[in-house]
Amino acid sequence: MALDKNGIAQRIAQELRDGWYVNLGIGIPTLVANYIPQGINVEFQSENGILGMGPFPWEGEEDPDLINAGKQTITALPGAAFFDSALSFGMIRAQKVQLTVLGAMEVSDNGDIANWKIPGKMVKGMGGAMDLVASAENIIVAMQHTNPKGESKLLSACTLPITGVGCVKKVVTELAVLDIDPERGFVLLERAPGVSVEEIVAKTAGRLVVNGEIPEMKL
């Protein structure tokens, strides 16, 4: 059975390692914070200027001076730090953040990502996404395998204007976990419980490597 959004977040959370600083994008990526494995210490960075981001505030304790990059009201954990946007993107460009989780509209089998603009539609802007994908060494994309029309979002080449070149390392969808090997394409690592390899093959438009038995995800 295909995963729901929380399932995708939960699977991505298994990629967290002790001592990592992590930047979570808007949408499914934000949910990853709810599934940090036991015994793992990570800290969340939000590019508008906080390290040590905590959960949403209790009702009535919202602070307009304390938001995340999605403009949501948040809290700061003990040991948090606030900083300006230049320092924030400084630490991103200098690769001090070990993991970046982003949503995407399209990903290509060489790791290009498109997630900021649909021609003909009102453009909202790239925000910090272009800085993040240009610098992060470890980018996981969290997205649906297909778009609302049923077309694959895992392509041989992005059709939409790209956000960054050859940067995505891993994709987690409601159907599968895939690595990206720029030489070989999407490498199928795991499938969602009960989802067949055939379904993944059918819904992946880019080059797809299926080697041997593909295990089910453990959630």
Binding site: S46, E47, N48, G49, I50, P55, F56, P57, W58, E59, G60, E61, E62, D63, P64, D65, L66, I67, N68, G70, K71, Q72, T73, I74, A76, F82, F83, D84, S85, A86, S88, F89, I92, R93, D112, K117, M122, V123, K124, G125, M126, G127, G128, A129, M130, D131, A134, S135, P161, I162, T163, G164, V165
Partner: protein, 233 residues
């Protein structure tokens, strides 16, 4: 002590003329110079090029200057959630230049640090790279980006002393310190002006040398754009 205080927001925007480029601090609706925006609206200055990470919302923040058609061009990284903005942009009444958020921040910082240009990897291989010099460092392509050249900067801090030393609170800091550094004339508005000597000199976010005019805002709405809470257990 060099006293940076001016009487009010109207005095603080003196000299702002049609066609100028202006930096506005804030991220979303957090840390925006509410009182300076109101004074610019009152002044009626037109054809402004506004550099701000976001463009406000309908009826608040920079949305107030879009409503009155005072903005010729917005330079931002993200402009979602603003119907008036969308209408003006689609009708061609408003020019928009979108640039990556980190590049926006660094171009402000560069202006305030006397660095005319720098290289960043952000945007390489994308539309943002069009017309820009590409150079490879450490095997990785980078774009040449330039410091902003802005006549005014409007920023909002939490506290200041009369010398213009600024202190920010929480994530309302965001672009404000960088834009404060970058303005030819920097106007800082604050929630409170505290007596000289009451700010710890170790904890000044923006030294007063970068601030030309300082005033205490009359009122701060500090609207929350996206209220998210946990229900109390």
């Amino acid at each position: 002590m060099i006293d940076k205080r001016v009487a009010n927001a109207d005095v603080a925007v003196t000299g702002l003329e049609d066609g100028m480029t202006v930096l506005f601090g804030g991220f979303g609706l957090s840390g925006i110079p509410e009182n300076a925006i109101a004074a610019v609206r009152k002044r009626g200055t037109r054809n402004l090029t506004c550099v701000s990470n976001n463009a406000g919302v309908d009826g608040f923040g920079l949305g107030l200057l879009l409503e009155t058609r005072q903005v010729k061009k917005m330079i931002s990284s993200y402009v979602g959630e603003n119907a008036e903005f969308e209408r003006l942009m689609l009708s061609g009444e408003l020019e928009v230049e979108l640039i990556p958020q980190g590049t926006l921040a660094e171009r402000c910082r560069a202006a305030g640090a006397g660095i005319p240009a720098f290289y960043t990897p952000a945007g390489y291989g994308t539309e943002v790279a069009e017309g820009k010099e590409v150079r490879v460092f450490n095997g990785k392509p980078h774009l040449l980006e330039h410091a902003f050249d802005a006549s005014f900067a409007f920023v909002k801090a939490w506290k200041a002393d009369p010398a213009g030393n600024l202190v920010f609170r929480g994530t309302a800091r965001n672009f404000n310190p960088l834009m404060a550094m970058a303005g030819k004339i920097t106007v800082a508005e604050v929630e409170e002006i505290v007596p000289l000597g009451s700010l710890d000199p170790n904890h000044i976010h923006v030294p007063g040398i970068f601030v030309h005019r300082l005033f205490q805002g009359e009122h701060y709405e500090k609207r929350i754009e996206n209220r998210t809470v946990r229900p109390r257990p």
